[in-house]
């Protein structure tokens, strides 16, 4: 009897694992739609990295158009990897707002001096709370925001790949 209980409980746990993995197969690897369409609260103030000027976050984004936000830090190795791709965006005249996440301003500036500055504006996020407003869970992360509806339309978790860059470019061009 004891053995049967063992056997059945093992069988049941196997079946649960099976179901979870089966569901996992159908989970889309893309981030889009329902979860992302939440609105962002644009009513907080932020400090710029280079001149410590305090501004309304709203002023950074084009009210009529799409904006790209990239969350980065000088201590984050994958940020270094995606850096050349961000520079590509700059070359395509796509404005990217950088959020410097939990970073030492001096290191952040050194990072940009060494590798180049791909951002049109950079704001600091010393304690990581600003990034949470954008729904970020880590660095690097890139978000495309619709200024009109104040919602996130696309989110890239992890370093941007070449395909991501093409995607961002087409997103921006579609709307303009």
């Amino acid at each position: 009897m004891k053995k049967n209980i063992k056997f059945i409980s093992l069988l049941l746990s196997l079946i649960i694992v099976f179901i979870i993995l089966l569901k996992g197969l159908n989970v889309s690897k893309d981030y889009s739609n329902e979860k992302l369409n939440s609105k962002i609260d644009f009513s907080f103030k932020v400090k710029k990295l280079f001149n410590d000027e305090v501004i309304n976050i709203e002023d950074l984004f084009n009210q009529e158009d799409l904006s790209v936000v990239n969350i980065w830090a000088s201590w984050c190795a994958p940020c270094k990897d995606e850096h050349p791709n961000l520079m590509q965006l700059k070359d395509m005249n796509i404005k990217v707002v950088g959020i410097n996440y939990k970073d030492n301003p001096k290191n952040a500036k050194n990072f940009l001096n060494l590798l180049g500055n791909p951002y049109s504006e950079i704001i600091t996020d010393k304690d990581g709370t600003k990034s949470i407003e954008f729904g970020a869970i880590g660095v690097p992360e890139t978000i495309v925001i619709n200024g009109k509806t104040k919602s996130i339309i696309k989110k890239f978790i992890g370093p941007l790949s070449n395909e991501n860059i093409i995607e961002i470019k087409s997103l921006i061009n579609e709307k303009t």
Binding site: F18, L25, N26
Partner: protein, 626 residues
């Protein structure tokens, strides 16, 4: 033409498989003395059919027969012949055909090699192995047929991913598959032995060769994958805890545990149930590996097929096998007569058990890190990525007790041993390792308290394993493998502690300072070669007493359009200088990454030593027979 051959021989193989399953099932229930000759004959026919099918695919690749969909998708007339051939198993369909080929060849070898064994046991092994073979045959024919045709016939193929055009990678999958598939024989035989009721020392002796063979192939397979990642991916590391890498490491832990447990079963007739559980787990992990890699459920650099129907099939098949084996295990468990023998705490048995606990711990960490993100995503939709810090934080502290155990465990005697009173040798070795570690650690840039015991213990273990060569307590194969392993741990630790990296954007002619070195980009030459455009740079790295020139390369392939970076690596016995560069844009700047990696080559050498130890043991075992 080859399409028809390949396709129909697979159907014949499937028919053979069904016949063999039915026939061997019937035969096990009527006690017959000798294996029916037809069974061996049909198995050989099946093997030949699968070989024909595999050769047809290779031929289709060689002659660039684009009427075949697999060839069309993965080959190109401009590709060098070697990569045309290796391209036949570099894709999803071909790699499954290779799995199948190895499965049937191994079964055939098993039937030839097991003539002295009990008939019922051989029949059952044939039955279980045929169930696996038929599963793969159905999988291939239904969802991944390598012989699908394209009409009208295209004049040119779509090319193969240039990252896969690398000699290490060309032989890496087959070697890894030999290891994976070898575990299928272990799985089938352990289930068969369980049902036939002959689990014991003689079975252990018989199965040990298969464990060794799979273990050697798996070790070398992992090594080759790691070498490929280091030389070709250009990330400057040898292990990234990528899910696909983890998937090959998990069966390795399990198989290493099994390798040690089988010895206890052979010598002492102990750990019967544990051996069966390990055999089942090892194969399930190999199958899960195939599932995780081939179903596209993982996000990884090794992006392979992403077709949900394939995933569902492998997953269901995997669970059918697991549930079948669990059921068989539970209902035949009572056949395992427990032979209670005197065993004491301080003995080789205990030492091997401790080794198993550590292996199981390492396995669990890697398993959780690999599977947990999938579970979490399903259960609450959140996405996490488990990276190196997770594995390092969980694994490295446990290396300390592991190294301590490994330094004295292998020299314990069977049944009962005494803790050695005092050995001058060991004390001297211990003091020597403290001294060596002191001189190493005062030079380290990264100072962690944890690295002190780790370095001391790894050197201690290294010296102990060297010292062991001078006594007669253990076999030569074990000495070599254990020495290789301690060398591996020491090299990995030193490599991790002393590696450093420089990263910047540079123009031609520019010079940058890094630590005590000066890095200069001399020139970049552009050339057109075969199927790609090559940008070859020339860098020089100087310091007071050395001068190195490095010429990394960027390749721009057109079929399909891909840019790859070929790192240039200068290897010496003491260190590797690794340099890779990337195109940024058209303003003359290049992104340059330079890495200094000490004792890199010893990581490869030590892994080779580990497998040589296994090979020696295998050779010695076969000599005894004759």
């Amino acid at each position: 033409m080859s399409n028809y051959f390949g396709n129909y021989s697979l159907y014949i193989a499937l028919i053979a498989s069904i016949y063999l399953i039915i026939k061997s099932y019937i035969d096990t229930n009527i006690n017959i003395k000798n294996l029916n000759k037809n069974l061996v004959l049909i198995t050989s026919v099946q093997t030949v059919m699968i070989i024909i099918s595999f050769i047809s695919l290779v031929v289709a690749f060689i002659i660039s027969d684009f009427s075949n969909e697999t060839v069309f998708n993965n080959s190109h007339t401009l590709k060098p012949l070697f990569y045309k051939i290796s391209g036949s198993w570099g894709n999803h369909e071909g790699s499954l055909l290779l799995w199948l080929l190895v499965l049937s060849v191994f079964l055939y070898i098993f039937l030839l090699k097991s003539r002295s064994q009990n008939t019922k046991y051989r029949l059952l092994t044939l039955l279980f192995q045929q169930i696996i073979i038929s599963g793969f045959l159905i999988f291939i024919l239904l969802t991944s047929n390598p012989f699908n045709t394209v009409f009208p016939i295209p004049s040119e193929g779509l090319g193969l991913n240039p990252i896969l055009q690398d000699p290490a990678l060309a032989i890496h999958p087959p070697i890894l598959y030999f290891g994976y598939v070898g575990t299928s024989i272990i799985f089938s035989t352990s289930l068969a032995a369980l049902v036939a009721g002959n689990i014991g020392d003689s079975w252990a002796k018989h199965i040990k060769s298969w464990v060794l063979v799979s273990w050697i192939f798996l070790t070398i397979g992992i090594l080759l994958g790691s070498i490929w990642a280091y030389y070709e991916l250009g990330w400057g590391g040898f292990w990234f805890w990528d899910p696909v890498e983890n998937v090959s490491l998990m069966p390795w832990f399990c198989l290493t545990a099994l390798l040690h447990t089988v010895i206890v079963l052979e010598k002492r007739n102990l750990f019967k149930e544990w051996t069966i559980i390990l055999s089942i787990t090892t194969f399930s992990l190999s199958m899960s590996g195939t599932f995780l890699v081939r179903s596209g459920i993982l996000n990884s650099i090794h992006t392979f097929a992403n077709d949900p129907s394939r995933g569902i099939f492998i997953l269901s098949f995997l669970f059918v096998l697991v549930i079948m084996s669990v059921t068989i295990f539970f209902f035949n468990q009572k056949k395992l007569t427990s032979t209670i023998k005197n065993s004491f705490i301080i003995s080789k048995e205990t030492a091997i058990l401790v080794n198993n606990w550590f292996m199981m711990f390492f396995l669990s960490v890697v398993l959780v890190g690999t599977i947990y993100p999938i579970f979490l995503e399903v259960l609450n939709g959140s996405k996490i990525s488990v990276g190196p810090p997770f594995y390092h934080n969980l694994l490295i502290p446990f290396l300390i007790p592991f190294l301590v155990f490994m330094s004295f465990g292998p020299s314990l005697k069977w049944i009962k041993d005494k803790l050695k009173k005092f050995e001058y040798n060991l004390l001297i070795i211990f003091l020597a390792s403290i001294l060596i570690s002191y001189f190493i650690l005062i030079n380290a840039e990264k100072k962690f308290l944890l690295s002190v015991p780790l370095i001391i213990l790894s050197f201690y273990l290294l010296l102990v394993t060297i010292n062991d060569f001078f006594n007669k307590k253990s076999s030569l194969s074990q000495k070599i493998s254990h020495f290789g392993f301690s060398l591996l741990i020491t090299s990995i630790l030193l490599n991790g502690l002393f590696s450093n990296e420089f990263n910047a954007n540079m123009k031609v002619g520019e010079e940058r300072k890094f630590n005590d070195k000066v890095i200069k980009l001399n020139s970049v030459n552009v050339r057109d070669i075969d199927n790609y455009k090559s940008l070859k740079a020339n860098f020089e790295i100087k310091n007071q007493n050395s001068f190195i020139q490095l010429s990394p390369e960027v390749r721009i392939y057109q079929q399909p359009f891909t840019i790859t970076s070929e790192a240039d690596i200068k290897t010496t016995l003491f260190s590797d200088n690794f340099l890779v560069f990337n195109i940024l844009k058209d303003d003359g700047y290049y992104n340059v990454r330079y890495q200094y990696k000490p004792v890199m080559i010893w990581i490869w050498i030590s892994t080779i030593l580990i497998s040589i130890g296994g090979l020696l043991s295998l050779i010695k075992k076969n000599e005894k027979k004759y």
